[in-house]
């Protein structure tokens, strides 16, 4: 029986180990091209474009969004509707060993980003595929219009809205400091889909009181950090009826569960029968 337990533990360990990624480097989060975040810094509606790790020429539209000071996403949509998302990550601070680990995780090392129109620093790039309506890349045009003046300032980190304290016609907001920000913008409104009011420049502070609100209305707030001309993403949590979403919900796959249940029960049953038969045989012998 001790052997059975050992085998069980070993199998469990192997099963769990096989489903875990061993990663010694924390990868940054990248949004998807189907709902890109950050600031649009490059936009081509057509042309021939390069994709890291792929020597062939790609014809279609191409957009690049700056996420943080060291991350970008490139959204390429071919004329045939095949999209390629490339996550770009400046890795000047990583060791060779860390870069090697990332390469084993599917990242491509770009020794000099300048050759790709980026900063003169080493980058890691990783491609993934998506499908797109031919000629479109990046779903949220209104975030930043193609052809708009390019802002080269680094993207500050999004602040986290810590609290909103309502007191009659006033609301005092408190948020976390964003390292690169030189001022903050507050948007608010009485509808969750319409932030029609705003404070364009709070100064470089982390708390601000908004006055002259209707005390009988519920308001919704978000805060954006700004570094010179470059806005961050909106604050990552809100107050006043806001909830939180934690990843995409599981939608279930009952076939797999039933199959595993039947096979598991079968294996256990056959194992126990064999075990019992063997025990009886041993006693008889």
């Amino acid at each position: 029986m001790r052997k059975t337990v050992s085998l069980f533990v070993m199998t469990l360990f192997l099963f769990m180990a096989s489903t875990r990624n061993v990663l010694a480097v924390d990868e940054p989060n990248f949004p998807l091209c189907s709902n890109p975040q950050g600031a649009l810094v490059v936009s081509y509606n057509s042309g021939v474009h390069g994709i890291p790790g792929d020597l062939s020429e790609h014809v279609g539209s191409d957009k690049v969004y700056s996420l943080t000071s060291n991350t970008l996403i490139q959204c390429f949509c071919s004329v045939s509707g095949d999209g390629i998302q490339t996550n770009w990550w400046m890795v000047s601070s990583l060791t060779d060993e860390q870069k090697r680990i990332l390469q084993s995780e599917g990242w491509i090392l770009i020794p000099n980003g300048a050759l790709w129109g980026l900063e003169e620093a080493p980058y890691m790039a990783k491609n993934s595929n998506f499908s797109c309506l031919s000629g479109s890349t990046g779903g949220n045009e209104s975030l930043s219009q193609a052809g708009a003046p390019i802002c080269n300032s680094s993207v500050p980190e999004a602040p986290v809205l810590l609290s909103v304290v309502r007191n009659g016609s006033e609301a005092t907001l408190t948020w976390t400091k964003s390292a690169l920000a030189d001022h903050y913008v507050i948007s608010y409104g009485d509808s969750p889909s319409s932030f029609q009011f705003g404070v364009p420049d709070t100064g470089n502070v982390t708390t601000f009181t908004i006055r002259e609100l209707n005390p009988n209305k519920q308001y919704y707030f978000k805060v954006i950090a700004v570094n010179n001309c470059m806005p961050s993403q909106t604050s990552s949590s809100g107050v006043g009826g806001f909830g939180q979403v934690l990843g995409l919900a599981a939608t279930g796959e009952e076939k797999t569960i039933y199959f595993a249940f039947i096979v598991g029960l079968g294996l256990l049953g056959v194992g126990l029968v064999l075990h019992g038969y063997n025990s009886r045989s041993s006693k008889n012998a």
Partner: protein, 187 residues
Amino acid sequence: MVITVDLQKMLKVVSNIFIAFGLVLLLFVGYKVWEENNPARLSFDSFYPLSVPQEFNLESIEIPSISINLPIFPSKIENGRWESTKKGVSYLLTSPTPGEVGNSILYGHDFPNLLGNLPKIKPGDEIFVRYKNANPKKFIVEYTQVVSPKDSSVLNQTQDSRITLYTCTGFLDSKRFIAVALFKTIE
């Protein structure tokens, strides 16, 4: 029947292997059942704010190109747990009503009679959302993508009018298939 000592040893090893694998599979089943009923378990550290619940006036969703025509049911997230239905598609009440500005979130099981066909949808396909007290609205699929459950940025609010429809896909439901469709006025 008399069996040899060698055969006894072999039977013992085989029975132990069967029992161990059987137990592991049953544990795995328990985990999947628990996970399915606690979808927040799939969460990582990403989160974003949503709005207060919208008034529910949706009726059904139709995707002619992949023969999907399903009723829509309201859903909420309570304590990190997403409500879901086995009768149709869930609409997250805390996202904008489809057709309004923002990102309307709809999702459903990948059962064959629900959204099992969704991964066959293509950019350019039409999605119709029908309402209880209004004319139907048409959405055109702009993107499809297989993503990780932790890629919740796809649910972020937008300044256009879109729906994000998704279901589970991949080995052991480890991925999500998303279809993003933008609102188009029906001529």
